[in-house]
Structure formats: C-alpha cells, structure tokens
C-alpha cells in the first residue's frame, strides 16, 4: 500500500511535451505511410478507386487528428512552428470539409450506376422470360404458370436488390462523410487553438 502524497509536484518536475511529440510524430508518420500505400497507384478518373480512397482516408483521419493535436501540444512553446502547424491544420480541416461534398457526389453517382446495372440485367432476364412465353416450344419443360412465377420472383428480387444497393451506398456514404466533417471541424478548432492558445 503506497500513496502519493503530493502528485502535482511529482508530475510537475517533468516536461511531458517531448512524449507528446514522439507519439504525435509517430501517428503522423503512420498516417502518411497509410496514405502513401492507398494512394499509389493513383487512378483519379476511376469512381470506385475514388470512393475506396476517400473511405480509407476518412477511416484513418482520426489518427491524423490525434497526431496533429499531440504535435501541437509539443510545440506550444515554439511560437513560429506552432503558427505554421495551426495554418496547416486550418487548411487540412477545410480540405476535409470540402472533400465531403465530393464524397457525396461520388456516392450519388455510384448509387445511380448500381441501380442502372440492376435494371439492365433485370430487363434482359425479363425479355428472355417474355420470349419463352411467346414461343412455348422453345423451353419444353416449363409451363406458362411457372414462367409467371419466375417473373414475379424476379421483380421482387430486383426490388430488394435495389433497396439493398441504396441502403448500403447511403450508409457507407454517411459514415465517410460524417467522419470527414467531424475530423475537419476538429482540425479547424485545433488550428484556431494553435494560432492563439488561451492562457491561464
């Protein structure tokens, strides 16, 4: 059984800023390595690549925020570096917020393409069923009632596939956009704090 009689004086004798810098730079380096891996080879024209890229960036963005906050804490006493970092945070925050609009745009386009694909495939199968109905001899073992059943089942399946596609794209979109906006706003806050830190 030991007790710390005066913890404040105990902690106060060390400077925790060096520790914050180490962890902060490690987080930042980890983010940069991840970013490097997911960026190369870049394929900006490809919609799916863009969506995957932004999703991964938004998933990892919290590490970037954490790292920058720790570095900011470590650099609080260095006015020049602190202001530079604050500016970088403001720019990064604004980029994150703006990129969320592009993520929504890509999400909408992707959803429309997915629905269009489902529709084209469904129309093809329906036209095949219609052909089989018009020429009963072409498929000897299938009755018209069975064809009607298949047609009904197909339209049900198409509807559920469409609903599923809509829900999945919306949910992933909302999660990426939410992350990007929250981290973006937090970075803007961090930048504002770093530019003029409040004093005790």
């Amino acid at each position: 059984m030991t007790t710390l009689s005066s913890p404040n004086s105990y902690v106060g004798s060390y400077n925790p800023k060096g520790l914050a810098q180490i962890v902060g730079f490690a987080c930042l380096a980890g983010f940069v390595v991840d970013l490097f891996v997911i960026t190369f080879p870049p394929n900006l024209g490809n919609l799916q690549w863009r969506i995957g890229f932004m999703q991964q960036v938004s998933d990892r963005s919290i590490i970037l925020l954490f790292g920058l906050a720790l570095i900011m804490f470590g650099l609080l006493d260095f006015r020049r570096w602190r202001r530079r970092l604050a500016m970088a945070c403001l720019v990064l925050g604004a980029i994150f917020c703006l990129s969320s609009i592009l993520v929504i745009r890509d999400g909408i386009t992707f959803q429309q393409e997915a629905l269009k694909n489902i529709n084209t495939q469904a129309t093809q199968v329906q036209s095949q069923i219609q052909q089989a109905k018009n020429n009963p001899g072409s498929v000897p073992n299938v009755t018209p009632e069975q064809l009607n059943q298949i047609s009904g089942a197909l339209s049900n399946q198409v509807n559920s596939l469409k609903e599923n596609a809509k829900t999945v794209t919306l949910r992933t979109g909302i999660s990426s956009v939410g992350n990007l906006i929250i981290v973006g706003l937090a970075m803007i806050g961090l930048g504002q704090y770093g530019a003029r830190p409040p004093k005790n």
């Binding site: 403001l90 609009i101 909408i108 809509k166």
Partner: protein, 324 residues
Amino acid sequence: MAQSNSKTRLELLGRKLGKRSLALFKTACRTNHNRIVACGVLVLLMFLPAWLSVVWQSILKGDSGFLLNAGFLYLGLDRLWRNRQQLMAEPATEEERFLGYFLILGGAACFPLCLSSVSLQALIAMVILLGIAICNWGIAVVQKHPLAIALILVSVYPDLGFLANRIRQTLTGKQLESLMAWLAGLSFAAIGQTVTVDGVFLSLAQTIDNSNAVEVASGCSGFDMAFPIAGFAFIMGMYFKQPWQKTFALIAIGVILALTFNVPRIMLLAFAVVHWGEASFEFWHGPIGGQIFSATMLTAYYYIAMAIIDQQPSIVTQKAKGKN
C-alpha cells in the same frame, strides 16, 4: 407624351442602376478580401436560378416547403441583424480570414463539379456562406450565434421535406409506414371490422391479396404532413419568442396530430378500395381529399397551438394590456 415621359424615367433608372453596379464592381475589385468575397457571391448568384426553379416547381405542386425556407432565413438573418454591432466590433483574425478565403475559393472550385445535382450545389452554397461569415466576423460568429447560422444554412437547401424524408427512409426503412398500417388495423379491429395487417399492407379480409389490400406507401406515412408542421411549429415558437419547452410542445403536438389524423385517412382509403370502388379511392387519395384532411387537422392544431401560446401571457403583453 406619356410614353416619352416613361421612357426618360426608364433611362434615368437604367443610368442609376448602371452607376450603382459600376460602384459596386469597383468596391468588389478594390482589395483582395473584396475580390474573394465577390467570387463567393458570384457562385451564390449562379446557384440562385437552380434554387428558384426547385422552389417554383414545389410551389406548382402545392408544396408549402418554401415557406419553411423563408421562415428559417428570416429568423436567422433577424438574429444576426439584431447583434450587428457586436459582430462589427470583433473583426476576424488573420487565420480566420485565411480559413474563410479557403472555404470560399474551395467551394467555388468544387461548384463546376457538382452542376448535376441541386443538393450538392446547395451544400457548396452553404460552405461559401460560412466562408463569407468567417472571413468577415471570425469563427466567433458560429460559436456565439450557432442557431442563427444553422437556420440560414438550412434555408439554403431548396427542398427540405424531400431531404428529411430520404434521411428517415434510410435510417428507419418502412417502420413508420408499418406503424401506420398497424394503428389503422387496431382501429379497424376496435370498430369490429375483420382486418389483416402484414407489414405495410392492410386488408379488410382474412387474407392479403392484390384485390383487397392497401399498401401504406411513403407518401401516406403521414411524414409529409408531420415534417412541415414541426417546421412551422418551430418557426412559430421562435417568432413568438416562446420558451424552449413550449416550442418543443408545439412541435411534438403537431407531429402527433399529423400522425394521428393519418390513421383515419388510411382507414377511409382502405374502405374506399374495398367497398366504394376506384373513383372514390381516387377522390380521397387525390388533392381534394387531401385538402379536406389537412384542413380538419390544421383547424384542430390551430386551436391547440394557440391555447399553448396564450397559456401564460408573456410579461410584454401583460405590460401592454396594463398600459391600455
């Protein structure tokens, strides 16, 4: 003679407008700050036709959504205007100006990429408006007047009802529709009718098939009625400067009334389908039937809302009465 008179007046007006716009253009080009803000305003002006066309289409459909936009915009601007001296007293710092410029220019750069969707253009307009506010009055304007800023930003989106309904459908699926079908089923059972409910389908028979079932679709869920009522209740609460509890009560009662009045509507439509035929269903489902239901509901709501607002007269009205 009269014609030449009006012609000269028009010419004068044209000259005045020309001078004013030239002066405005010169002011816009004077400093970098003005140039960047003018760039943002230009993008907002480019968005205006798309916004107006969506609002006009919704007015033609008989939608009251634009009133929500107008109400939110008025409330937001009014709050900022009343605090204008405090806003002017605290100009933006260098970093805040930089952030504002970045948001304006970034939004302007993204605008050409989003011409296909009015919703995205509205989002960009929000970012630009935020940028203009931040580069003039700093982030403090968002921190000190979050409600005013949120109201102005929300009013930029041209079809709020559509957006809210899409969000509801994504988050809850068809739960509201199923709830409505279930409540209508309970009401039918209470008046002694045979009824079967399966999810969003309601049938006045033991089984559900296409001939006797009614589907409670998204438009019949009552949400389209509940959302504007909640919006107007909020605007009313803010306009009459009601305390938050009363505003919340106004919203909650509006939503509950809209959803409650939707149950007899669904019951009537189910009756119409099964017993009275297609023409009767079309009548009750169409604009006239809809108007009858909304008029009944709004009458009930008016009396309840006014009772809530007048419940405890505010100090100002008491004073006014005392003076009289």
